[in-house]
């Protein structure tokens, strides 16, 4: 320890003796580390911007479908039982910390009429305002409908760009009334253009309304009988609803009445209604696995499934998109790392260069130190510590300059920048490693000098 302190002092002294050379030596490392920090911060900023973009395509979206029914060994496919309720959605939102937004959806179908034009949108979907956040799909005109509209099953809708073009042409649609299956809806907002999805389906060909409205006011929502389509889980409730007219009422029953004995045995709450699907946005794409676990747990509990009962629902994630996201992020990170490595190697070679010059220049000093009793190790450590110190000082300056540069970039160019503690830790440790690696050869060379030759060196 004492020896180390003495060697450290000697090294600092040697550096102070030649300030200009020390500065020039560190310059390479300063620039290298500054570049690393700036690139990492700007790069991470852009990377998260890219991630956010991809996430808006739905990469961190989970979809919960009702499970499948089977009778006599014949499966009826996904959605053939009606096991999901709006309360499930509310409970997921409340109890799953990894779920950021949750929205139940109900599918409808039907011709939309405005004036003398008509159109059958690809999707007629009933949902809640959370949908807007899950799909990251803001409105360009007007507003999204509200929770209050959902509670009241108001006859309002938000339409996509395609629907707007087909029905309204150049007219402003907000505030206009259109009709879907003879129910009149007021247009409160128009969604931004989203374009086709990965399968080529036009996503703008859409009509969004409160799910209560679609479920209870639109007759014929859920177009066909259960076995024929996976999207028809609301067929049964339609049968009830169509008798019931336009308003939801307490008389809606999804299941047949149970006997008193059955009721005593299984105190199941009567479900108010079922939904076709629940979509969930996780906090981040990395939270998808944990969110899936949490949702499974919550739903199994709510559905009172015993230990080995099969799930009566299915959760799907966007594997393809998630993979794209991971690959993109990985590639950007690799790219940044490569650039950083190159600049650090250049800085390291600079250090080695000047250290070699310094060893040559100080040959006599080394000879003298050896003559008065410095061992090879002492000389080795002196030069090694010198180069590590230079790198550390250069690294610290580089961090400051790099941070300054990235702040400047934010100010001037408005690029997204993300301060990165990892980058700083990395930079410091890398500068130490560079100091050791590139300082070793000159230091070793110095320690192998023959004191007689060194003292005679001119």
């Amino acid at each position: 320890m004492r020896m180390f302190y003495k060697t450290l002092r000697t090294a600092i002294h040697a550096m102070r003796r030649n300030v200009m050379r020390s500065i020039l030596t560190t310059l390479g490392i300063i620039i290298g580390i500054a570049a690393v920090i700036a690139i990492m911060e700007i790069g991470q900023g852009s990377s998260s911007a890219i991630q956010a973009r991809i996430a808006s395509m739905g990469a961190n979206t989970l979809m919960v479908f009702p499970g499948q029914a089977a009778s006599g060994g014949i499966s009826w496919g996904v959605g053939s039982v009606m096991s999901l309720t709006p309360l499930d959605a509310e409970t997921i939102a409340k109890d799953c910390p990894d779920a950021a937004y949750v929205a139940p959806t109900v599918r409808g179908k039907g011709q939309v009429i405005y004036g003398n034009r008509n159109w059958v949108p690809m999707q007629t979907t009933g949902t809640t305002p959370e949908f807007m956040h899950i799909r990251e799909w803001p409105v360009s005109e007007g507003d999204f409908f509200t929770d209050r509209d959902v509670r009241n099953s108001s006859k309002v809708c938000v339409i996509g760009q395609t629907l707007k073009r087909e029905l309204f042409g150049d007219e402003a649609p907000v505030g206009k009334e259109l009709r879907v299956q003879n129910v009149s809806f007021r247009v409160v907002g128009v969604l931004e253009r989203k374009g086709a999805n990965m399968m080529g389906m036009d996503q703008d060909d859409i009509l969004l309304a409160p799910w209560t409205t679609v479920k209870y006011r639109l007759s014929g929502s859920g177009s066909s009988a259960a076995p024929s389509s996976s999207g028809s889980s609301s067929a049964a409730s339609n049968a009830v609803n169509s008798l019931n007219g336009l308003y939801p009422s307490s008389s809606v029953k999804l299941y047949a009445d149970i006997s008193a004995i059955q009721a005593a045995d299984t105190p199941m709450p009567v479900r108010f209604a079922n939904v076709d699907q629940i979509i969930v946005a996780t906090r981040s794409s990395s939270a998808i696995p944990s969110a899936m676990k949490e949702i499974t747990q919550v739903l199994r509990e709510r559905h009172r499934l015993k230990g080995d009962d099969p799930d009566d629902f299915q959760i799907r994630d966007m594997t393809e998109m998630t993979n794209t996201l991971t690959a993109t992020t990985g590639m950007v990170t690799m790219l940044l790392l490569c650039v950083a490595m190159i600049s650090l190697v250049v800085g390291g070679v600079g250090i080695m260069n000047i250290m070699l010059v310094s060893v040559t220049e100080r040959t006599r000093e080394i000879g003298l130190r050896m003559a008065v009793g410095a061992r090879g190790m002492d000389i080795l450590f002196q030069f090694l510590i010198e180069s590590v110190l230079l790198c550390l000082v250069g690294g610290s300056l580089g961090i400051l300059i790099g941070r300054g540069a990235s702040m400047l970039v934010t100010k001037l160019a408005g690029w997204p920048v993300q301060a990165s503690v990892t980058a700083i830790i990395l930079a410091v440790s890398v500068s130490v490693v560079v100091g050791v690696v590139f300082g070793f050869y000159p230091a070793w060379k110095a320690s192998r000098l023959d004191p007689i030759e060194a003292l005679r060196y001119e």
Partner: protein, 251 residues
């Protein structure tokens, strides 16, 4: 007991095909408290002998007893330790660290000492030595701000800082004018007389060698004589080396 005893030291350099014998069997003894001049023309092998005596180099064969320890077979690092504990060096070209104060120059060898000098002790010792060589008022000057004689006196203080058994001075006056040379040589004599430090002067200059109590002449890698020129009760005597089978090849 003799401080330094050489037994039949041979040093041969191998330059490719040709063997160049530089020392051809040197035996000598130097006692504690002596002041000896090692004289010879250039090429006589005196620098090689000096390097071996200074533990900077190892002989090809022969024995070297330094203060009762056989040091000719030691490793590099062990020799560094011996140099640090027992030897002090003064060079022709001073070899002070540039842009470093006289005080720190003097303290420098203690950085490598295993004796655990504390900073305070090291500083006190360096101050004492600088006062001894008459530079008490120049301790904080850089070496470039000192004259040649002053620089050499700093170098002497540096050589003494680790309390060496022997002080080697290799042409200590080679870069100095005659007046300063005289001062420096008097300094050596004073150190020898008052502090009892054993001093070995290497020189080619008879006038310089005249300041020593005894002169050893080296000629063609052998000792030419070992007269006690000032007739001190010298403990050592230089022994004419047996140069059997050696031709007088000059390196």
């Amino acid at each position: 007991m003799d401080l330094i005893r050489l037994n039949n030291i041979v040093k041969t350099y191998y330059l490719g095909e040709v063997d160049v014998p530089v020392l051809k069997g040197v035996s000598l003894a130097i006692g504690r408290g002596e002041m000896v001049a090692l004289m010879g023309v250039s090429g006589s092998g005196k620098s090689t002998l000096m390097n071996i005596l200074g533990c900077l180099d190892t002989p090809t064969s022969g024995e070297f007893w330094l203060d009762g320890q056989e040091v000719s077979k030691l490793s590099r690092d062990q020799r560094a330790g011996v140099r640090n504990r027992m030897l002090g060096f003064v060079f022709q070209s001073f070899n002070l660290l540039p842009r470093t104060s006289a005080l720190e120059n003097v303290m420098m060898p203690l950085n490598y000492s295993r004796n655990g000098w504390s900073d305070r002790e090291a500083r006190a010792r360096a101050v004492k030595l600088l006062e001894l060589v008459g530079l008490g008022d120049r301790m904080h000057h850089y070496s470039s701000q000192l004259s040649g004689g002053q620089q050499q006196r700093v170098a002497i203080a540096r050589a003494l800082v680790n309390e060496p058994s022997v002080l080697f001075a290799d042409e200590p006056t080679g870069n100095l004018d005659s007046k300063t040379s005289e001062e420096v040589l008097r300094m050596f004599q004073k150190l020898n007389a008052e502090e009892g430090i054993t001093i070995l002067l290497v020189t080619h200059d008879a006038a310089v060698a005249g300041h020593a109590k005894r002169t050893i002449h080296i000629r063609d890698g052998m000792i030419a004589n070992g007269l006690h020129e000032e007739g001190t009760a010298g403990a050592g005597e230089a022994v004419q080396a047996d140069a059997a089978g050696k031709t007088g090849v000059k390196p």
